[in-house]
């Protein structure tokens, strides 16, 4: 066919979409700003809903990345973007030009910077960590302790950090944090069965077939306690344990609790990469700063510009599973476009 495609972003969505298109015979260049591919997947330990090791997906993607027809360009960013008659010409930071009949933007998301929820004390108090930090610690296999090396007696997981929050500018639900919080609570319970674990939530958005079951299992088998109240503040006690305050909304009373570790379930945000590429390609953003898709039901991989497609969580928060599906449909949309044009 001889048509070429540039995919910007070598994470889950970028590799998956590119792999399929390469299998279909296209020449695909994958541009990745990091030295290696796979995006944030390398930071995760186990994936919901079936607790598969994230490495399995990593292995799958690394095979996918070797599909003949794919060329991977690590440590590369896009410096300029130009429209030509047959498509686009992209120039990299290394001065290399890539011409493309179609472009896929797959720049992914960023984990919410929890320090912006100042009242929760991230990077202010030692024993406040994020779900992303916890995932790394679980993956490393080192014992889960407080900074002082103590086994925590009590841990609180805090839902909706950086999501559903006008104060930080993210009014949307990040979709993955509820189940991540319950998944991690179960994992911690397995590691530290004597530790009391509490999840502070507003709503538990356990959509789909399996997630509600994870929630029920957490209650039934892992003694996780769920308290309906959004966390208001974290402060530090003299022994470096943490005092947390929420409303016990179901009883209508303020509630305070001393815990040894606070885990903030951080949401997803459009990354700086997404913003930069969106601007360079001159495509539209939605009100949340993600890339705008023209039709949520029927054109989930299209952007405001013909020939530029979107794959994965640069368009909205997505789980690993959603991302792979979205990438596959992106590949299909690109293929259809290149056949028709």
């Amino acid at each position: 066919m001889g048509k070429s495609i540039v995919t910007i972003g070598g994470g889950i969505a970028g590799i998956e979409a590119s792999g399929i298109l390469a299998e279909l015979g296209y020449a695909v260049s994958v541009i990745e700003k990091e030295p290696d591919f796979g995006g944030k997947l390398k930071n995760w330990d186990h994936l919901f809903p079936n607790m598969r090791k994230a490495e399995e997906i990593e292995d799958y993607l690394s095979r996918k990345g070797k599909t003949p027809g794919i060329t991977l360009f690590p440590n590369t960013t896009i410096a300029s973007f130009e429209n030509i008659k047959s498509g686009f010409v992209l120039k990299s930071n290394h001065g290399v030009s890539y011409s493309a009949h179609a472009v896929i933007v797959a720049t992914g998301f960023e984990v919410f910077s929890a320090e912006r929820k100042e009242e929760y004390g991230y990077k202010i108090y030692d024993n406040v960590i994020t779900s992303a930090d916890l995932e790394k610690r679980l993956k490393s296999g080192t014992p889960l302790t407080t900074l002082a090396g103590k086994t925590p007696q009590r841990i609180a997981f805090i839902h909706c950090v950086g999501s559903r929050d006008a104060k930080v500018g993210n009014t949307y639900c990040s979709k993955v944090c509820c189940v991540t919080g319950v998944k991690q609570a179960i994992e911690v319970n397995k590691l530290l069965p004597a530790t009391q674990i509490f999840n502070f939530y507003m709503d538990l958005r356990m959509h789909g077939l399996e997630h509600e079951e994870i929630y029920k299992t957490a209650q039934e088998k892992h003694n996780i306690q769920f308290i309906r109240g959004r966390l208001s503040e974290v402060s530090e006690n003299i022994d470096h344990s943490l005092l947390i305050k929420a409303e016990d909304t179901l009883s209508g009373r303020p509630l305070k609790m001393n815990v040894d570790l606070v885990v903030l379930l951080v949401g997803m945000e459009p990354g700086v990469g997404t913003t930069a590429i969106g601007k360079a390609c001159n495509i539209e953003f939605n009100q949340y700063g993600y890339l705008k898709i023209p039709d949520v039901h029927l054109a989930g991989n299209l952007t405001s510009r013909k020939g530029i497609f979107v794959a994965g969580s640069c368009s909205c928060p997505m789980s690993v599973k959603d991302t792979i599906e979205h990438a596959r449909s992106a590949a299909f949309e690109v293929h259809r476009y290149l056949i028709e044009n």
């Binding site: 320090e115 990077k123 108090y125 402060s235």
Partner: protein, 354 residues
């Protein structure tokens, strides 16, 4: 607490504070209970920093306590504030320096309302014109008086006579700072360092050698509650909220409390006496309570002013233990004398704090 983590969050935004030429808005509570603090503020600005600040006899209360006790309507307080803007405009000033945190909150709320709802501003312009025939300009800069001390904390440090160091141990004094809710809880960007851990007082304490105490109830209200203090039968609310703070700070053994808001200052001082009297419980070292200073008093001590000129004798909790730690000289005989060393009697000794 890692101060560096806190500082990083606010690195990109700093509140703008004017450099010079201020119109001074006095505080009802500060004048009543800490009159020398306002005097000290003007002295520091004029004599130490060489600034121009206008003390206008024509201004009044902002009616803030009336507003928050709900006997003064929003329309009325807006017009009273507008009158002060008119006085400021007439006097040729553009920058407000406000002595009271409640007033500062009021000024913030009103100017923000005018931005959000311009029709309110038009309404106020009309009503002020109708009532007293005055017109006004919105100030270019509104600062709380402590913001200005914060801005010039380095200049003050250059003239420092006494450090916030316990000379008996050589260690920094452990100081609790209390900001006052209306400083920035409503409008975080109006305060130095936002709403959670404003830097306005901790900046002074650190600059002048002290150590800030981070205790669990640090961000909690002193419990003034306006109508909750003004009506005697409601005062349990105020007392209980302060008590919660004292209990929370007690394990850290603070050497002093410094407050931003005159109301908080007064309550944190007086409630210690009340709790000692009611429950026989004190929270400071040696059973004497924790001295509570205004930021003007703190700056005055650092600059070497006479403690009795600063008005420390008006506190119910004695400040002498703090003065001794700092090795600030004072004459105990002079403490309760009037002007020109006139003898005017002494307060009864509070046995519960002795």
């Amino acid at each position: 607490m890692k101060a560096e983590g806190k500082r990083n969050i606010w690195r990109e935004y700093q509140k703008e504070i004017a450099c010079d030429h201020f119109y001074y808005q006095r505080s009802c509570i500060r004048q009543n209970f800490f009159p020398a603090s306002e005097k000290t503020f003007l002295k520091i600005l004029r004599d130490e920093l060489g600034k121009d600040i206008y003390d206008d006899p024509l201004h009044t209360t902002c009616t803030g306590i009336g507003y928050h006790t709900d006997v003064v309507p929003f329309d009325t307080i807006q017009a009273v504030v507008a009158r002060h803007f008119a006085l400021m405009t007439e006097a040729g000033y553009k920058n407000m320096a406000i002595s009271c945190v409640t007033s500062f909150g009021i000024y913030s709320e009103i100017t923000e309302t005018w931005k959000e709802f311009p029709e309110e501003l038009e309404k106020v312009r009309k009503s002020l014109k109708k009532a007293i025939g005055k017109e006004f300009e919105v100030p270019a800069n509104i600062a709380h008086a402590s913001d200005i001390i914060y801005k010039f904390k380095g200049e003050i440090a250059e003239k420092q006579q006494f450090e916030l160091i316990n000379k008996q141990t050589g260690k920094p004094l452990k100081i609790v700072e209390h900001i006052g809710c209306h400083y920035s809880k409503m409008f975080p960007s109006k305060g130095v360092g936002g709403a959670e851990f404003p830097h306005v007082l901790s900046g002074m304490i650190e600059e002048w050698g002290g150590e800030v105490v981070d205790y669990p109830e640090r961000r909690h209200c002193c419990g003034f509650g306006f109508r909750q203090y003004m009506v005697q039968s409601n005062r349990g609310y105020s007392l209980s909220n302060s008590k919660k703070k004292f209990e929370s700070m007690e394990p850290y053994m603070p050497d002093a409390i410094v407050a931003n808001c005159p109301g908080c200052n007064m309550f944190l001082d007086k409630w210690q006496y009340t709790l000692a009297e009611m429950q026989g419980k004190t929270y400071g070292q040696n059973g004497k309570g924790i001295p509570v200073l205004t930021y003007e008093e703190l700056a005055g001590l650092v600059l070497g002013y006479n403690p009795w000129d600063l008005g420390l004798q008006m506190h119910q909790i004695d400040c002498e233990p703090l003065l001794d730690k700092m090795k600030v000289p004072y004459n105990p005989e002079d403490k309760y004398l009037g002007a020109n060393k006139k003898y005017i009697g002494r307060p009864e000794v509070a046995a519960c704090l002795a």
